[in-house]
Subunit: 337 residues, 2 copies
């Protein structure tokens, strides 16, 4: 399998799950002290991860949890944000300008800040009240925070069983997803390149809902646009029916991400509609992956990780088919703008 290190993947997820005591300590302190609002602040991919955890909590928890875009927070601000508010964020480099400014602003107001920063030694880390350093697995870390918040709020009675199950089965289950998706992903990438050769201007349409929406949005923008320089458009499954459907024709390239949370029916509706007007669409359904050991009622809470695993395989083959090293950038951080 191309660019795949099974043990490394297992260790990465396992290690993330092992930082649970640190997360629990930080979350318990936050809830013991109380807060008037808890804000996941991000930009680009980290904002998308914030959207994923917000929609997860929205339907399950009465806690006041919100998602804020860092650039909007430093311009428009938020009048409900006070010194009793809490910020949670994640950053790989700890150097994204908008994030640094947003966290500075939050500290000026007097809010408490919990940061997940991959690199320990950054200026951003110094601004955090609590900083947890562990590489990658941002989406998983946010969900671990969410689960603890709900547990402390009496909204997650089987928290212990859930975690035991995840710690025992999730790392291997996600690796198995990658293995199962591998052959399909190679074909998919080949087809995308063939199509692209003939239609370089045509955007690829990505559609998703619920805790797949963050994945849909950031996969289209942060992977295909930023890292592969391929045009995309992403739209939520619900909004698709209120405008975008009109530009779908027989050959329009579309990929639908279907997860297993409460918004699944919205994406199933798209998948049922598409064959009537289009024959160039792909459905990636997390339900097609076994996730051995994880009971059905927990599957929705990891759908976004399953999709991420599938897309790891797609990335590997897209990079190869398009002969486009995913690390290069045309403009991003290449000059001042």
């Amino acid at each position: 399998m191309l660019k795949f290190n099974e043990q490394q993947q297992i260790d990465s997820v396992k290690g993330a799950l092992m930082i649970r005591p640190q997360i629990e300590k930080a979350v318990d302190e936050i809830q013991k002290e109380g807060f008037d609002g808890l804000y996941f602040i991000g930009i680009g991919g980290t904002w998308a991860s914030g959207m994923q955890v917000e929609v997860y909590l929205r339907g399950r928890s009465s806690l006041p949890v919100y998602v804020e875009n860092a650039a909007e927070f430093i311009t428009t601000g938020n009048k409900r944000f006070t010194n009793k508010s809490v910020v949670i964020f994640s950053s790989v480099t700890g150097s994204t300008t908008e994030m640094v400014d947003a966290i500075k602003k939050a500290k000026e107001v007097g809010a408490r800040v919990l940061g997940f920063i991959d690199v320990e030694d950054t200026p951003l880390a110094k601004l955090c009240d609590t900083c947890i350093s562990y590489p990658m697995n941002e989406q998983l870390k946010f969900y671990m925070v969410a689960n603890r918040l709900m547990y402390n709020n009496g909204e997650f009675p089987d928290y212990d069983i859930y975690n035991q199950e995840m710690e025992k089965y999730l790392p291997m289950a996600l690796v198995e997803v990658e293995k199962k998706a591998d052959e399909w992903a190679a074909v998919y990438a080949k087809e995308k390149y063939q199509y692209y050769k003939e239609h370089p201007d045509m955007p690829h349409y990505f559609i998703g809902a619920g805790n797949q929406w963050g994945a849909t949005y950031s996969y289209a923008m942060c992977y295909w646009e930023e890292q592969l320089w391929i045009r995309t458009k992403s739209i939520t499954s619900a909004e698709f029916f209120h405008g975008m459907l009109e530009i779908i024709e027989a050959e329009t390239p579309v990929t639908v991400f279907i997860g297993e949370d409460e918004q699944r029916p919205l994406s199933e509706r798209v998948a049922a509609f598409l064959p009537k007007v289009c024959k160039n669409y792909t459905v990636i359904d997390t339900k097609d992956y076994e996730l051995k050991g994880i009971r059905s009622e927990y599957r929705g809470s990891v759908s976004h990780l399953v999709m991420h695993a599938v897309n790891n395989r797609v990335d590997a083959y897209m990079e190869k088919e398009f002969r486009h090293p995913m690390v290069i950038r045309r403009y991003y951080r290449q000059f001042n703008y």
Copy 2:
């Protein structure tokens, strides 16, 4: 001027401003009774209008005001939504399935509902605690609600002066925007058609921020995609720099909507970046329009209406240049899906 009835436009906005006593009565009742959350619920264009009013209030008011997508509300739901919550929505037809289901669900929970429905006699109207019927001007109605909410909450001391000024000057100011934009819009539409002939697959990129974001999103999706069948992608000015910038090249067609609220610097940054990598971009800046009689500090609160007026002119000429009657639909409400 093509498809332009000056007096009708003036009367339309004037009439909307005249429903203020009805709006004030409804809002005063809501605030007298108190609420734990006020939710603008919408889908498609009405969701976009909700986003515009939410971002307006976010920076100005400590009131708990949120925007909800109707389809997400009926699937994921919102655990913080209670019988002490308030829903505000707008609907032209009163028959959009997701809206009917969302309002039914809100009523089941026991929430109070204020509806703006263009047509008085719809099933949706019967579900409202208060229903205000006046055609069009949805964005203006929402901002009138917002202004009254802030006034009652001690956050809008010059409410009376503001309204006097708007009632005296806004209808004519917006008509003057259309007149000033007309000649430019005719050229813009012609250029878009010329480009489209050569590049039918290429999406047109729309970028905007703050209270222009709802306008940007819905203009791209509800007008160009739905009504003109032209590919588009819309992105916020802040997010543009976190992925989408990479697919902009010299000839990529881009339009930036710049308004005059707190997020203006985010869009100015896009406008400053684009010339370095692209020569096929257009900036529509509300600052270029006089708005006679409206003082500078109020301009940001009507930027979205100014942009709407400019785009009325664009629509008229796009419809003509593309020979595409904007009323026709390929799929929407044409068959069951």
